[in-house]
Structures are given as C-alpha cells and as structure tokens.
Symmetry: C2
Amino acid sequence: MATTGQATGGRGDARLSEKGIYTAALRLIDADGVGALSMRKLAAVLGVNPMSLYHHVPNKAALLRGVKNLVAAQFQPQVDGGTWQEQLYRFASDFRALAHRHPNLIVHSLASPDFIEPEDPFWTGLTGVLTSAGVPATEVAPVGAVLTSLFSGFLLAEMNGTLGRLAAMQPAPGRAGSGAASGADADGNGSFELAVQTLIAGLEAHLPPATAR
Amino acid sequence: MATTGQATGGRGDARLSEKGIYTAALRLIDADGVGALSMRKLAAVLGVNPMSLYHHVPNKAALLRGVKNLVAAQFQPQVDGGTWQEQLYRFASDFRALAHRHPNLIVHSLASPDFIEPEDPFWTGLTGVLTSAGVPATEVAPVGAVLTSLFSGFLLAEMNGTLGRLAAMQPAPGRAGSGAASGADADGNGSFELAVQTLIAGLEAHLPPATAR
DNA sequence: ACCTGAACACCGTTCAAGT
DNA sequence: ACCTGAACACCGTTCAAGT
C-alpha cells in the first residue's frame, strides 16, 4: 500500500508511455484541477525524473492537448432516430455527461482556443444533426460554430459554478441571498433544459419556414 | 524618452496607488494577455521593487479581480426605449463592445468563476430587461443565469478565435480549408446576430404565450 | 507607513552526460 | 534509445530590515 501512484512494480523501473503519461495527468487534473498539474508533480506520481517526460511529450502544452484528445475520443454521440430536435437534445446531453465526468479538464479546454478540432466526433456529430435539420451546406459550419460557442458557455458556467451562483441571486436587494428557496434547480437540470430549448428555438427560427418537417 | 514605463518623474520615486497598479496591469494584459502578467513584470513597468506591490494589493488573485472591476465599472448599458427584444439586443451589443476593448482580460474573466457579481451593472441591467420582458420575479435570476452563460460562451469563442475557426471549417473532407470562401462572416457580426436572435427566440419560447406585447 | 533585499518553495525547459 | 543531474531563467510570496 501507499505505492508511488500507479507504478505497477517497484520504483526506479520507469515504464513510460505516451498514453500512461496522459492518463496519469488526467487523474491529477480530475483531482486538483489543471492549475495544479506540473511536469514535476506528474513525474513524481509516475516515480520518474521530471526530464524523462520530455522524451515522450514535447512540452506541457502538448501534454494538455494529449489529455484533451484522450477524453475527446470517449465522446461517441448517439444521434440516430427522432426529429432533429430530439437528436440535438441527445447530443447536448451526451456532451454534458462527458463534461460532468471530467469537469476540471473541460473548464480548461472550453476556455482554450483549440478545444474542438475538425475530426473530433463532437464536430462531425453536430454537423450531422444540423444537416439533417435542413441547414444549407454552406451554413452548417457557421451555424454549428455559434451553437457550439453558446453551449460551451453553458457547460463552462455550470462546471465552474457561475451558473448556480447567478441563478441563486436575489433580484431585489431586500433580504440577502437566502440560498435555494423555492425548491430550486440545485442540480442544474432545469437550466440545462432551458439552455437546450433556447438553442433549438434559435435554430428553428433561423431555418427556412417550411423545413420544420 | 525610453522612460521606465509610465513613471511620471525619474526612477526610484515610487508613487504607488491601487488604481495606478490596476491600470498598469490592464495595459500589460491588453498587450500580452493575462498569462504574461506577473507581479515582477508589473513592478518593473512601474519602476518599483516587486515587493512594494504587496503593500497595496494582497496577492495576484486580488490584482486580477481589481483589474476586472476596473473595466466592469466602464459598462453602462443603455436599455431604455423599444421592445424588450430591442433592449436585449442593445444590451448584448454594449457588452460585446466592451469585450472587444479588452479581449485578453475578457477571455480570462469569462472563464473564471467570479466574473459577474450581484452589484455589477451587467447583472442589474440584464435583470431589468428580463423583468420588462415579463419574466416572473422568481425566474429572473435563473433565466438570466442561463442567458448569461450562453452569451458568455459566444463572446469567449469570438475573442479567443474559436468561433472564426469553427465557422471556417468545411463540412465535407473534400478540399481542405480554403479559408474565407463565399464572402463569409470575417468580422463575426453575422455570428453575433445569430447568437442574439437565438437568445431572443429562446426567451420568447419560454415566456407565457400572451406576453409577446 | 511605505519601500526593499534576501530568501523560500516552486515552475518549464535545455543540455551534457550517463547507460 | 531512454533516463538523469545540474543548471538557467523564471514565478508568487514571506519576512526581517531599513527609512
């Protein structure tokens, strides 16, 4: 017991692999946030000299990108049956479930410029839904970009606590924040419903009138 | 010429004030981003020993909060005439204009948990618009929270370049990204319109049917 | 009261040396 | 090929000392 992190055997035998580094880093991020991840701490957890990491990962930015890709690969959205509205709802639900699994990583990734890449199942899935909704081919990317940015903001605010804090604010300066009064939206599910219904309503309004199907 | 930053006189005479520190920090952030701001660099720009800053600001987190409040105070939304839809549109436009003035700071602030505070003109302005739209008093805060999170995501993605990058993606893997093809939305104004219309449509759908006025 | 130098406990990363 | 120790150029922050 009290082993040096995930080291399979003793200490000093360094079995370093790119994927092993990423998963160890992800565990640190899940536990303490991206801010608490350092090359030196990661090396300590792996029972290895800090410099050894640089033989498998060029630098810290690449490390974070690798971790991000590790969890991005887990995202396999199920968008099949139903109307495009139902598909979009399921798509958003799946993404939100992934975010809840690794909130610290998601908070960091959503705020950084290169979170979504063209090959990500996220982007291919979303463009598929938009196409089936009747969005013209030339508009799929710009419309998808706007919907992505809006929904990312929702997830970011939910993960870092901003959403809950704002939702609990009292409009009048009368009695100061008494917390969750009227059986409010403690788990954020109501906020999620409203956010997704907003995106759907916006897309419906943007589509040519006859395409409701 | 070639003075030590903004030092009014020579060097060594340290005229430090809380506001002077914040404005100097804001200039550094505007120039190089929050990541490039350090207590030591800030002190160098002010022509002062790094430790002197700690007599006016408790730590770096408080420094960033002070800078944020400095620009948050600049936000004076003009929400008067017109329908609530027009008010919401103007409100979003004003906020976006502020974000364009200090993109580096906004990117950092939108991603951090304590950007918006109850007394901020941002929150009071938004809740005012929602009330005039007919949102019941108990729903103003939760609805405002969702709209804020969605719109923050749009601004964040616009500021850090994600929006433009996604919008330029080609849906089919045919010919790789040829850049702005069909006179696209280079300045993001079209994306902004779509984002705000989406928020308005979502709010309209959420309101009780007769409240369109 | 305010400023400062030295110091502590960290960072990411390079490089020459080991095996 | 992979690992390592020493070193460089940074951080934020504490503390005792100066004026």
